[in-house]
Symmetry: D5
Subunit: 154 residues, 10 copies
């Protein structure tokens, strides 16, 4: 099993803080220890928050990311800090969700990628945003996210 | 078993429409067929809606009413029409919930009464309102409402 | 362990049919094999149906009965047939539920009894009826019924 | 990330009220900030209500809308007000649900659209209405709605 | 939106009673207000009951019907009365379920039809019966029924 | 509807007991009342138990059987007795599950068959066994079993 | 922490088989390692089965046992074998459940004891049996069992 | 019903922003429209976030507040802004939760108050904090919060 | 709000490793920032594991700890390391659970303490262990743990 | 049914202990008793734990393995011991999960294989890893795992 893939990273194991904006945040990657295997890694980030650019109010989302690594894995601490960099930054729901996707696509050039943003309701109506990089490649296993739908009350 | 208690009612079996305001709505009652028994009747009204007096926006609630009949039962069609009469009427959450209680208390003089109003969230925060007429009388069985709490997303 | 308590019964093991009305139905009882123990027996009858005396439409309920046997147990096949005897008989929700209780109280003279009738909604509003014979006797264990509340849709 | 797409709108940020009928309601749209991405946006509207044209009684539904934006997004406040405009308007279940679809199809000319209307039961039987604009385009991710089925009681 | 499709019906708005047998029951239909749209309507009937032709005991089922209307919709009150007509009629599980399908197929000649009968257990083993008229037509959206499986106890 | 298919059976309506081994058990069949319809029947048997041939300890399973009848249906009482015949018989998990399948395949020659055996955990690890006779025939509707996965504690 | 309490036992670590009847089964006990603490131990036995003395059919139950040890703990392997000894033994639901209680009471003389037997349905109606040795002693924590109620279908 | 209680407020209906620290935030109150009724109001705030004073990392919590109004209600928009003021402020879990309580106690002098803070896990272990102002007053109805416990995975 | 309570600790913020046995592990405490408030803190540890002293096999548990702080709080990193110290140490279920309680009682001298150990099944039967230091003090709020019961399969 | 397949094994029925590293662990196999049947066996291992090679902290996972046997089955006790051998061994999440797959692929040369590793969260974000050996072979039935998604709190 691989033990040497996490060298030369800037944030892991250090006291790195989140950047002030997503654009300033640095996503890091490490070599995929199993480039011969078409597999899926899923991250669930239930603690996402950003700012509404119109009202200045905080927005919240539960984010699920699935990807099939190609030559690299995302280094998970840099992913956490990247997600935290939206904390005081204004961005619309669709934009946030898709921007996260674009940054990870650029970093990883994965065989497959998808993102789901489950946003908390505003005005009684929640919005979910779903994007994938294309059809699921043949032979890749990507289970459903299983996130409960919004149900109001009762 | 009782078969004659529903005579002399104004709304049951007719084409009665909801009143335009709760104050105008007529609640009707019928004799309790088992006045010797200390029991509880529960109504669940998942289709409650009113108007916010400040914003003019519709509000929604899931309402649960429990009461222990004394000499009378509420006639259920008149209850339905009474609840519908809030549809285009402005009233705050706490006020609506407690007003429903007061009207039923006045009509029924029950041995026990309680109401739960589970309001849909506004600004990300739902409000629930709970009132009962006093401690549960000894020997009366009033199960929990079991309504699922609001959970946001995820 | 007891093996001789089910003798002399009219319906168990025979091809007995349900009576045409609850009044005609015969409830049978057998000796309590453990009269020294204050325990609770719960029956769940999710297949209850009767007729609305006003509209002639069928009504449905999920019924839960808890009791603490005294000298007798209810014989379960006679209970099943008794409940089936409401099938084509007109009776209101509260009446049905309480009548079942009264018949079983009369038959069993139990140390404790309670009944819950969870009726399917009519006009969007379901009614539940709860009755118990008095406070739960000290030392008797009667768990909650755990029946899910009505939730409408969503 | 986009910050200028919400200009020139009539309702957002103002005190706009819902129109009196769906036909009078104005749906607004904004440019899709990511027209290069085939993605799905989902709206959940658990607070839908209209009037039955036969009985005059209120009807309720839990509505889920999924669409893949083409050149435009629906502006969410105008969507909310459009849905509110059914509040005192008579329309059948199938009609309401499909009419919402048609109005949004006309406004957005999306790459894909679907709607689910989960209506509260009447006469003990709820109706659900499901429509989509055609097969899901290859590569578009549209998860199941996950709405719990109606279960009656028990 | 359509407002004139419910004229000339025999049962809607009248005091029609259920027929004594399914064969005698009259199913009625109305014009499909959106014959240009390939959509699905789902009915959930949790209150189905019939009689076992061998034992004479009542049987119960939770029925889910999905269909894609062609030129007609089933009129929902006549459907309710049709389902009620099995109440005192003997029929096996598979037969009941498939017979309902055949009657609706004959009435509606729909673009697609399916039925699920979830029968309450007998002898500890429940039976479910599933039929559809053929593969789901391309572009029709028919979500899973989501009915919970039987789980015994625990 | 069919009423004459259950004649000439050995076990239904009699006091038949389970055989002592699965090999000795007699499965019976009746004519399929709807051979023109490609439908699915599901049996859920949550009360399955056998003996581990190595340790002599009892094993337990929750079994789900789906099949599309061809010319015959399995007679359900004989199925129940067949499943009971494993009670004191030693057989491995995979063997039991597949043997049940083979016996039913032989009896019914169905258009499609599948079986799921959800075995209770041993050594902290449960085993599930899934087999089907081939791809689901085009147009046959076979919903997921929906059985909850094993979750340990918490 | 205690390490010497499991010596001198007849069944633990050996190839002991279950006795043929509950009366013949030997329950064993070990010293309570914390006799100074008023605590509760809960056993959940979802694999209980016995024989109906009237019909000879197998019965199944999900059993939950809570007790507050006094001077002894029940040795868990002997408990497992004791429960297995009902496998081919005829006993009624109430009898089985209460007999288990009596044997454990006799063996352990605990500060508190309770048992819940959740029996699989027969004739559509499951029976639960609940017994406790008396009121919960002050300061003892005995959480609810949380077992899901029987729900039929849907 | 009351309509004049929301006058003279600083934040409601204006574009008020959250303060930068909880100490600077202004909580506002309005007269209780039903001071004669001992009732409970519940707020659920699933979007709470603060900063860990040791690590500088964001913390998240799901907060539930129940109180029995005395002479005043908390004005809900000021509550929302107060909770938002923790967003970039460092505070420990226990401290945050209890500080919220103290500020509301001071503002409202309620007849009863309680707060539950359900914090997201750190290091695999979540912390919940529960406080109430004293025993629940006789006759006040305060249902359980019903928040799901943390379960890890599986 | 308090900011100076975490000084002088040995493990927090350092690279401390778990001790090799529970006896060697050092639990640390910090001053209670709100000694004037009778509140409850709950820790959920779903990742507990130890070794069976008889078989040498690993055991697993989901642990829930509730306590009402007196003068001190447990420092959470030292608690995590204490729980990890059981990883390669042999101890029986009841012993482990109660030993954790005794160590925390000794460290904290809390106003109230309780622990629940939900152990994964062995031989098909899981054991839960529940202990509390005495009755819940008047006015302390300690909600149920809400942990799902073991359910076997199905 | 097969009874002779478990001969000549090194670990089953003996007191074998887990190896100290996965590389040293011996996986054993037995002949597939039904090589003519394309079926799926699923193992659920909710008790998996390993060590993080960077921090030395324990990691936990809930693992689900599905495979379609070819000529051999994995012997389940050797699988259990293999999984236990990760207990004190350092390995990254992706590596562990994929390494288990590779070892089983090598041993079994199955017709199909897949693995899901549901890892407990670190830093608030859990990772899931999914791999399969290729597309599901035509006619093989491999149900979804149904594992609940991570949901944070609330
Ligand atoms: Ca799926
Ligand atoms: Ca409760
Ligand atoms: Ca409770
Ligand atoms: Ca709802
Ligand atoms: Ca699905
Ligand atoms: Ca699905
Ligand atoms: Ca079970
Ligand atoms: Ca599915
Ligand atoms: Ca409780
Ligand atoms: Ca039901
Ligand atoms: Ca409770
Ligand atoms: Ca777990
Ligand atoms: Ca409780
Ligand atoms: Ca409870
Ligand atoms: Ca699925
Ligand atoms: Ca959440």
């Amino acid at each position: 099993m691989a033990e040497e893939i996490y060298t030369g990273l800037g944030q892991l194991g250090s006291d790195a803080k989140a950047a002030e904006t997503p654009e300033e945040a640095t996503l890091e990657r490490v070599p995929n220890p199993h480039p011969d295997m078409l597999y899926c890694a899923r991250f669930v980030a239930p603690e996402f928050t950003s700012i509404c650019p119109v009202t200045g109010q905080p927005d919240f989302a539960h984010i699920v990311i699935d990807y099939a690594p190609n030559e690299h894995l995302v280094e998970s601490k840099s992913l956490k800090l990247f997600l935290q960099s939206f904390r005081n930054h204004g961005a619309f729901h669709e934009d946030c969700t898709i921007y996260i996707a674009k940054r990870l696509m650029e970093l990883l050039e994965p065989r497959y990628f998808r993102i789901a943003g489950y946003w908390y309701p505003r005005g009684g109506i929640p919005i979910d945003v779903f994007w994938q990089s294309g059809p699921v490649p043949e032979g890749l296993w990507v289970p459903e996210t299983g996130v409960a739908p919004y149900r109001g009350r009762g």
